[in-house]
């Protein structure tokens, strides 16, 4: 018997499952924050969540709208300055997972959150790098979660805001003191992982009901599939309930109710 769930819910729950109790996770706002808090509220109650606003080990009851909502601070173990956050906690090597979203991602998991088009004459100006460039290199590994579409999954990003494995897949080779980089990308269609050799993203698991063609259609390059292609386990009733409660609480909170 199958539960009803949306592809967004499938994405968040799958992303949450990538996290475990022992991780120290530097959380990006939006989808990563949703997944990380879902993990904390389900199978990983002791996961350490860190937001770049300086809140160490925070346990918000609703999802923050911004990276520095009051509840992040009030529920944190302590709150440090932003320079300390980036110097001691991120660059100092205490983050096991950096969890990022993006506007564009390419086949080598490079992320673009800067702009679409040319830098001096942008077609669309995006917010910019924020914490991502150094999260991606200073965290021991990086998880990415983003909706799957041809606009987002491009062969080459317009601008490498945040390095995955570079334009040629080799950007991390022989660089000292750098993390492993992206180890998993979770979308609303599938799970992708970098090929151990070439670092090109490969689909390793399709979400229930999703076909290879669905993924091919939504990807801007000739996407490859792993020889052993899994089917992602469905959400459980408990995961769905916790996620829906969390989102309802969050919506009520941010609309000022």
């Amino acid at each position: 018997m199958s539960l009803e769930f949306t592809s967004s819910e499938m994405m968040s729950i799958t992303a949450a499952r990538a996290l475990n109790n022992d991780m120290t996770c530097f959380v990006g706002i939006g989808l990563p924050s949703e997944a990380a808090n879902l993990a904390r509220l389900t199978h990983a109650p002791d996961i350490t969540l860190i937001y770049e606003s300086g809140t160490l080990q925070t346990r918000p009851d609703v999802l923050p709208l911004s990276i520095g909502d009051g509840e992040l601070c009030e529920s944190a173990l302590t709150t440090v300055s932003v320079p300390e956050m980036f110097r001691y906690w991120l660059q100092g090597g205490h983050i096991s997972v950096g969890f990022l979203g993006t506007a564009q991602i390419d086949r080598f998991a490079n992320l673009n959150t800067t702009l679409i088009g040319d830098y001096r004459e942008p077609k669309v100006r995006l917010p910019g790098g924020g914490g991502a460039p150094e999260i991606a290199t200073n965290a021991k590994e990086v998880f990415i979660t983003v909706k799957h579409s041809k606009r987002t999954f491009v062969k080459d990003v317009d601008f490498v805001t945040t390095v995955g494995f570079g334009r040629d897949g080799k950007a991390r080779d022989n660089v000292p003191n750098i993390g492993k980089g992206p180890t998993v990308v979770i979308t609303d269609l599938c799970i992708l992982k970098p090929d151990p050799e070439t670092k090109e993203l490969v689909v390793t698991s399709l979400h229930p009901g999703v076909t290879r063609d669905d993924v091919i259609e939504a990807t801007g390059w000739e996407i490859r599939f792993a020889d052993q292609l899994d089917t992602t386990p469905e959400p459980t009733a408990q995961e769905l309930e916790v996620l829906r409660d969390l989102k309802a609480r969050t919506k009520a909170h941010h609309s000022g109710q």
Binding site: S53, S81, V82, P83, R87, T137
Partner: protein, 275 residues
Amino acid sequence: MAEFLSLQDAVSRYISNGDTVAMEGFTHLIPFAAGHEIIRQEKRDLTLIRMTPDLIYDQMIGAGCAKKLIFSWGGNPGVGSLHRLRDAVEKGWPNKLEILEHSHAAMANAYEAGAAGLPLAVLRGYVGSDLPKVNDQIKFIECPFTGERLAAVPSVRPDVAVIHAQRADRKGNVLVEGIIGIQKEAVLAAKRSIVTVEEIVDDLGASVNACVIPSWAITAIAVAPRGSRPSYALGYYDRDNAFYQEWDGIARDRETFQAWLKENVFEKTAEEGAA
């Protein structure tokens, strides 16, 4: 020693056209009242520095105060774009805006180095990023001990820093509490500083290692109750998340924005603005 001034006098006396101004507060304690006073006094050609431009710079840019923006993340957090910022960058309205962009880590380090009186910050940053290609202020140095290649950026040393804080005592010592961001660094890195506070109290009630900025490190203090709305002040009022969402509609259109600005900034005094 810090001078107690009205917000109007503080802005008029210490911020001049053409200045480099850093208004900080990382989501928390954003100095909106001071930003509105700068708009009302029609300051021009400012170089604005801020990690996250947020609504405060969207408003100031839309009002024509800025000629240049140095930043590391320019969005409406959790909502979307800063439409006034985009309009200035993409269409040059109301004037062309030059931008210089960094990562958060680099800007945080640059403020820290500014507070530390150094000309540069060194960090393990920008590896593999295209940002150094479009920002000629990002350089790389070699560690003389290990040979490792590290990024270097100039420290932030603004003419004026503006922050909002919970409270000052009667001598002008200021307590910043909660998400302290880079407010202390901004004040210490700047030549002059304006601190707006919720209130003046007899005793700060600060714990032993609290983030307190001494009076002698501040230029001017102005009382501005609710001075960081729609941002928030821990212990005083919450973030107005609903307004952050509404802003998207207001800022999307030039005329709606101008109407908002007229009603909520130009037709208000510094005192009314806060209320």
